[in-house]
Symmetry: C2
Subunit: 427 residues, 2 copies
């Protein structure tokens, strides 16, 4: 949980860290260069642990509902990398949390992939079950069991603001258009949705849409807005590696396990985020961008290319092979001081090759099959905020012709302005 | 072939183009903004044609050994996107080329993937055959058959220079170390190798190595140096989508079909380059970089971020899911006027998340599990040319601390120098 990262970071007890994080103290330590952080795809975390690529794991603390004398560990709401840690760590401490429903095992499906990132046989639909309801540990490695009775720490989302709602409406509009054109079948396709406020708003919109048919999800994390959508029957089922929901929503699930147990599968991270999943299952991926450049490259992680926010997470696990890959963001941030559409991204998490659709509250840019010059026109005309359009068009004019027009003396002028004056377009 | 692109480009007969190209005239037209070129992964070309994502294909010209009245098309040395074009194009012209051995069908394995990029069932090893020896066409679409008797146009590689040989030796050294550490099994793993002079030199080195065991390849294109390696038994077998070899080498294959037919499989591009392949088969990918930045991002395609060379090709199809992903390049180009290790890449084809190992003639940087600050030290110390080391270290010092140190006012100074003075470090 977040408080573990917070407490350990405050105590300066973290030296190396891999993959997504969302603790403000840990983020500061990383940006102060006090913690060695490698931002890797979430699918790669367990893969690399399995391959002995990261530093050896000494002690792992694993939350569980139950552990048997022969080493069956019944996990709780987050499977994540627990199964591979149980195999690879030298010592294990089990946090036995009685808050969770013992019926969680009905929705857990554990397959551990070793070394390569290959795809479990039989995983042909989002809801396919191909593994076991528990993870296995060598009982002799368990050096302690700590009892606990505490819910997960998940903050409620703030109400969607107008911008979020418009982005969500644009996503709905785009998907309906694709259905009408026949590019998405009437039975729809599985959706992956990134974490955060905007992703939450998009899923709420799709869940309440009268025209989007009932659908499945194959995603990384199940957020709050999905529980009512599932309870009312619109979300037919979801595969995920964690339930990241508030205590209220979790209690709703636990009180209705007969209903939810048939509709949720919790998998290890290397299966939920496997690079093969999007391709194999035909996933529509929807992820949040920090900024996108006029040629469709996306920065998801580093403000001005230097300061880490949270990390790439699973965004590029899903977008790379997705049937349709969508990135969403507001056209501006900080009350207009920051444009999310920029001449060049100073850090790239998903290159133009993985970015098919970009959607802001202003509109939709469908970049599929488009040359760079066409992409730039679409992104500026449809997605950029009006106050930045002239600047962006002038940037292109100031650049020499080429397959991709750039002016290396001016490509980061907006970012430099932000660093120097606190706004991208000072008076 | 290359001359088709050349002739059509010279006649200004190309308006839209997708994916890799290597014609100098077409390259110029693209960089003059006269041709709309979208640089997409080679795996995506057939995928997007299958999904009707690109512009409709009016007429396709397909080279074949034979066509039967019921529409079985026996292709020649390049399968590429021919099978999906035969399905999707409105009209087909068959170029019946009697130069090629009719026994080519023994090495051809056609499976057409529709819409999604999923993996053919049963393709569990590089040599698995899962399809048919021909592609299928609706015979009523064939509007003409043109007879021909000409070999492919493939230029001989120049002899490897000292730099190429040193890069190749470093690749061999790295792979042997991985074997000793147990990260690569003694039976080895399938290799993918990018096209070009350096890739050719690397494969020659591995093929002649006494310590590297016999191995398989799962790759995009089979180049000249692989034929003798296969003929002597070191290369046990190869899956590819094209034989891009000189007439001399091709004649060697055709004269020994009893031997080679068991050792080569020619597949459609969406299978050879499938994003799933590297993961599923545990491929070691070896691709050439144009430049890499000190944090391990790779530019494979665009000089100073603007001028297209050839295109991303299959490099990122293989590197993204590879068991080990290696990028190779000389530490400098143009007699030292260009450093291949730069502060920031002005275009990124493979982001740091897909780049595990970078090798130049100077040495090896193993970036696995490393934070950005550690990556920079490794790349400058081990891979950069001595004449650029001081500049690169000073760049880091001139940058403010952060998870990734960058100085947005100076990050493209080397590239701007190159544009203005013809050299990255003028006197």
């Amino acid at each position: 949980g977040k408080s573990v990262d917070e407490t350990l970071a405050q105590a300066d007890a973290i030296l190396h860290r891999y993959g997504y994080q969302s603790s403000s103290t840990l983020r500061n330590r990383i940006n102060q260069e006090k913690v060695f952080f490698q931002d890797i795809h979430l699918s790669h975390v367990s893969k690399y642990i399995a391959m002995n690529r990261l530093r050896p794991v000494d002690t792992a603390i694993i939350e569980a509902c139950d552990i048997t004398p022969d080493g069956k560990v019944y996990l709780t709401t987050a499977i994540g990398i627990s199964p591979i840690l149980l195999e690879k760590a030298s010592k294990i401490i089990i946090e036995l949390n009685s808050f969770h429903s013992p019926r969680l095992r009905e929705i857990i499906d554990v397959v551990v992939l070793h070394g390569t990132n290959s795809w479990p046989k039989g995983l042909d639909t989002p809801m396919s079950r191909v593994g076991k309801p528990y993870a296995q540990v060598d009982p002799s490695k368990v050096i302690g069991v700590v009892k606990n009775n505490e819910p997960d720490e998940v903050a409620e989302f703030s109400d969607s603001d107008e911008t979020c709602v418009k982005i969500a409406q644009n996503v709905e509009k785009f998907l309906l258009d694709e259905m009408i054109k026949g590019s998405i079948p009437k039975t729809f396709l599985p959706i992956q949705s990134g974490v955060g406020n905007i992703g939450n708003a998009v899923m709420k919109q799709l869940g309440e849409s009268k025209e989007i048919p009932p659908f499945y999800m194959y995603t990384e994390v199940l957020q709050d807005s999905l529980i009512p959508i599932m309870h009312c029957g619109k979300l037919l089922g979801a595969s995920t590696c964690a339930l990241t929901v508030t205590t209220k929503s979790l209690n709703e699930v636990y009180s209705n396990m007969d209903y939810f147990a048939k509709r949720i599968v919790l998998r290890p991270q290397e299966v939920s985020n496997n690079i093969i999943a999007s391709s194999q299952l035909g996933v529509i991926s929807i992820n949040t961008a920090l900024e996108a450049d006029i040629y469709g490259n996306v920065n998801s992680t580093h403000v001005t290319g230097t300061k880490l926010m949270n990390g790439i997470g699973g965004s590029a696990d899903f977008s790379r092979g997705a049937y349709i890959s969508i990135f969403i963001c507001p056209s501006t941030a900080k009350g207009g001081k920051i444009s999310s559409i920029v001449p060049m991204c100073p850090h790239i998490d998903s290159s133009e090759h993985s970015v098919q659709i970009i959607i802001t509250e202003k509109g939709i840019a469908d970049l599929r099959g488009k040359a760079p010059s066409e992409k730039a026109q679409l992104l500026i005309n449809n997605c950029a905020h009006p106050m930045y359009k002239e600047y962006l068009f002038n940037y292109i004019k100031s650049s020499k012709p080429g397959h991709i027009r750039h002016n290396l003396d001016k490509c980061f002028e907006l970012h430099s302005n932000l660093l120097n004056f606190g706004t991208m377009l000072p008076e």
